[in-house]
């Protein structure tokens, strides 16, 4: 009984891992006009028994805010965890699940938007012509931006 419980609780003993710097894109691939571009964050990951050298662990939107300044917005909706889509014709982010909407900079642009907080930003560094970021996931559904441990 106890041995079963201990093994069942195993996930609690494991951290989320990650948090290291990952190269996600070349600077020129991020449009200079500030239009967000969707890129996959590809890195090594271990899923239980499978070790994969390069696998997408998440998706971010990169947006140019200056000649060599880039902002990264997490694609997971802070409301309930769906995939937020960028809609070019509306120049806004839109979540297909519960209709959360966000401005192009990730802020909430409609008071009726059910999301409790703006889209989550990630730490970005531009090193030469390469865009690097620290990838994390955050808890949806609450106002505070708390990284998943």
């Amino acid at each position: 009984m106890l041995s079963g419980l201990v093994a069942w609780l195993d996930p609690l003993a494991r951290g989320a891992g990650g948090g290291g710097w990952i190269q996600v894109a070349d600077l020129p691939s991020v449009p200079a006009d500030g239009t967000p571009v969707r890129v996959s964050v590809v890195t090594a990951r271990t899923d239980a028994w499978t070790r994969e050298a390069a696998v997408p662990v998440g998706v971010v939107y990169l947006r140019r805010t200056g000649p060599s300044e880039v902002v990264a917005l997490h694609s997971v909706c802070p409301h309930a965890g769906c995939f937020v889509d960028y809609q070019g014709d509306r120049k806004a982010f839109f979540c297909p699940c519960h209709d959360s909407t966000f401005a192009v900079d990730g802020s909430i642009n409609d008071p009726r938007s059910p999301s409790p907080r703006p889209m989550d930003t990630l730490a970005v560094e531009v090193r030469g012509q390469a865009v690097w970021l620290r990838f994390q996931n955050f808890r949806p559904g609450i106002q505070a931006k708390v990284a998943l441990a």
Binding site: P28, G88, D89, P114
Partner: protein
């Protein structure tokens, strides 16, 4: 025979048990309103049988779950029917549970001394919902994956224990093998086990207290056998007939494309019996009244309170107006749930973006089957690896992301989404075909938004030529224009045009002369020989794969627009897209999507003669 029955009876008491079951007293006689419990038991039995057989073919891991369900659905003899039954019986159970609950509340069958029995019923309701929720993920397709992400995220907002609970259910911080193994253990082991125990208790207590007969009695007291047994049997058959009808009509349960967390899935919706909850979370009052706690209130607290009231009904029912309150409360919840479900369905039906996403999801699911058949099976890297190499799948996605802010494809963005904004570059559907070129060479269409309308070329030389010179040239030599078009289109060599290419050789030959002489195209364009003085894009290899890949890579190259390029980025030169990605877009636009071209595995012979393969609609 008699001897055998006696032998068994002496050792098991079977006859006594059977007697007790069949000769249960029913005051007021058999009635249709008593059938719901039996139909539910029947459904559960069907689920166990179909579930165990599905289990024999299912493989719970992130690398094999979708693939094994694909095999059940598309290859295994009768697999689609088995899976369809399991899927639709699950849905029937939710409907029957509501009817059963309604009957119990209306008839007051939850009152003393039947409280405990009623609570077992509530437990069974929750177990059924849990089975629906866990079963939805197991195919590991886009739809189940998306819905489970939301469901587990909602679990995570429970105060204090939420995050740990979510981690335990998901089997880690991220979705993967252990999400499936845990969900499968719940779905096929823990929940059905609890369900069997709860059903046993529920039925035993029902036998102990007897049926709550509906007053006034219409007929004299009867026994369970034969009239009620007949009614229950007819009801079970009606349920089975409905389920079989739905299964055949929909060709079993849908299987979407494999889960791909890197692609937005805008067709994400929960199963229909959770739609009311989904729609409830969209209601404005949650954010207006509770601010950023809206979700906690909407997804956890209010449903928790409703469940609490439901469980407390036997106690509430003791008050003078308690029974009426219970009736009113349940009625209000059901009407509310129906209204929310209708609202959700209606708002989706009136949302072209959602409809386009659903159509796209269906197309991707069908494409997946085509690719697997063409490859002769699923490669070791999984089914998703086939989709990632497929121009018909990846091409439109890349087009929507990188091209559709200026171009269109048949009026939409490649994925079916129609923008309100006018396009600022040509529509590329059919680019390279005679039809497309004819439209470009017509005075009244060349400045349409589908051609040069949104570009700076609308006032350029080509438009002036088409409007002023071309009609005269065309009139002087009838038929020349068509053969000139045939000659230019022959450069594109679109797969769709290859069939009759031999028959057109003569026309093309004549057309090539017209390009240079009759129409004077070569005054500006190069055609089939180098031309240093050309000022417009080369027509040599026009719209061929190589021509298009080079143009997208760098439209400012002298072979194309040079310095006259109008806003088109140099995708390869500027590092915006790789050559491979450009090739995928180009192959898709050119309709060059036959998987045999890029599949390394030998093209498969036709799928086995199981009959299932050919029966797909």
């Amino acid at each position: 025979m008699k001897k055998l029955i006696d032998w068994i009876d002496q050792r098991t008491g079977l006859q006594g048990l059977l007697h007790e079951v069949l000769f249960e007293r029913i005051p007021g006689g058999a009635r249709w309103r008593y059938v719901w419990g039996s139909t539910l038991s029947f459904c559960f039995f069907v689920q166990i049988v179909t579930g165990v057989v599905l289990w024999m073919a299912y493989s719970p891991s992130a690398h094999s779950a979708w693939e094994s369900v694909y095999y059940i659905q598309h290859e295994m003899t009768g697999g689609w029917f088995l899976r369809g039954l399991h899927h639709f019986v699950a849905q029937a159970m939710h409907v029957l549970l509501v009817l059963h609950l309604l009957q119990v509340i209306i008839d007051g069958a939850y009152k003393a001394p039947r409280e405990v029995n009623y609570w077992f019923g509530i437990v069974l309701l929750m177990l059924t919902l849990g089975l629906g929720l866990t079963g939805y993920l197991l195919p590991w397709d886009q739809k189940g994956f998306g819905a489970t992400k939301v469901a587990t995220s909602l679990m995570g907002i429970v105060p204090v224990i939420g995050p740990s609970l979510q981690k335990l259910v998901v089997g880690g911080s991220d979705y993967g093998h252990h999400t499936l193994t845990r969900f499968f253990a719940l779905h096929a082991g823990v929940l059905p086990g609890l369900m069997i125990a709860a059903i046993a208790a529920h039925v035993a207590l029902f036998r102990r207290h007897g049926i709550t007969a509906k007053q006034p009695y219409r007929k004299p007291e009867a026994r369970f056998w034969p009239d009620q047994v007949l009614m229950d049997g007819v009801a079970c058959l009606a349920v089975l007939a409905t389920v079989v009808y739905l299964t055949v009509r929909h060709h079993g349960a849908e299987l979407h494309a494999p889960a791909d967390p890197t692609q937005p899935f805008n067709a994400a919706r929960p199963e229909w019996y959770f739609l009311f909850l989904f729609e409830f979370l969209k209601l404005d009052f949650l954010t207006q009244w509770f601010g950023h706690h809206g979700e906690l209130v909407g997804a956890i607290i209010i449903p928790g309170l409703v469940m609490g009231v439901l469980a407390a009904m036997p106690i509430l029912g003791n008050w003078r107006l308690g029974h009426r309150f219970n009736l009113g409360f349940l009625g209000a919840i059901l009407v509310g749930a129906v209204l929310l479900t209708v609202q959700s369905l209606r708002s989706d039906a009136g949302n072209p973006g959602f409809q386009a996403a659903v159509a796209q999801a269906h197309a991707e699911a069908d494409r997946m089957v085509t690719l697997i058949r063409a490859a002769g099976g699923i490669p070791r890297d999984g089914a998703a690896s086939l989709l990632k190499q497929d121009p018909a799948t990846v091409g439109p996605r890349l087009f929507a992301q990188h091209c559709a802010s200026c171009h269109r494809y048949g009026g939409h963005d490649g994925l079916g989404v129609v923008s309100a904004e006018a396009p600022s570059a040509p529509d590329l559907r059919g680019f390279g075909s005679a039809g497309w070129l004819r439209g470009l060479l017509q005075a009244d269409t060349i400045t349409n938004s589908a051609y040069y309308g949104g570009t700076k070329f609308r006032t350029g030389k080509m438009v002036r030529y088409v409007r002023e010179k071309l009609p005269k040239l065309q009139a002087s030599e009838p038929g020349a224009l068509e053969s000139m078009i045939a000659a230019v289109v022959a450069e594109a060599d679109l797969p769709a045009d290859r069939a009759g290419a031999g028959d057109r050789a003569g026309t093309v030959e004549a057309g090539r002369r017209h390009v240079a002489t009759t129409f004077g195209c070569t005054d500006c364009h190069a055609f089939r020989k180098p031309d240093e003085e050309a000022t417009a894009p080369t027509l040599t290899g026009w719209a061929s794969r190589d021509w298009m890949v080079r143009l997208v890579g760098d439209p400012t190259h002298a072979d194309f627009y040079g310095a006259r390029n109008d806003r088109m980025p140099s995708y390869l030169k500027e590092g915006r897209l790789s050559e491979r990605d450009i090739g995928l877009i180009v192959d898709w636009i050119r309709g060059d999507t036959d998987p045999a071209r890029w599949l390394q595995a030998p093209v498969a012979t036709k799928p086995s003669s199981s009959g299932v393969a050919g029966a797909r609609p």
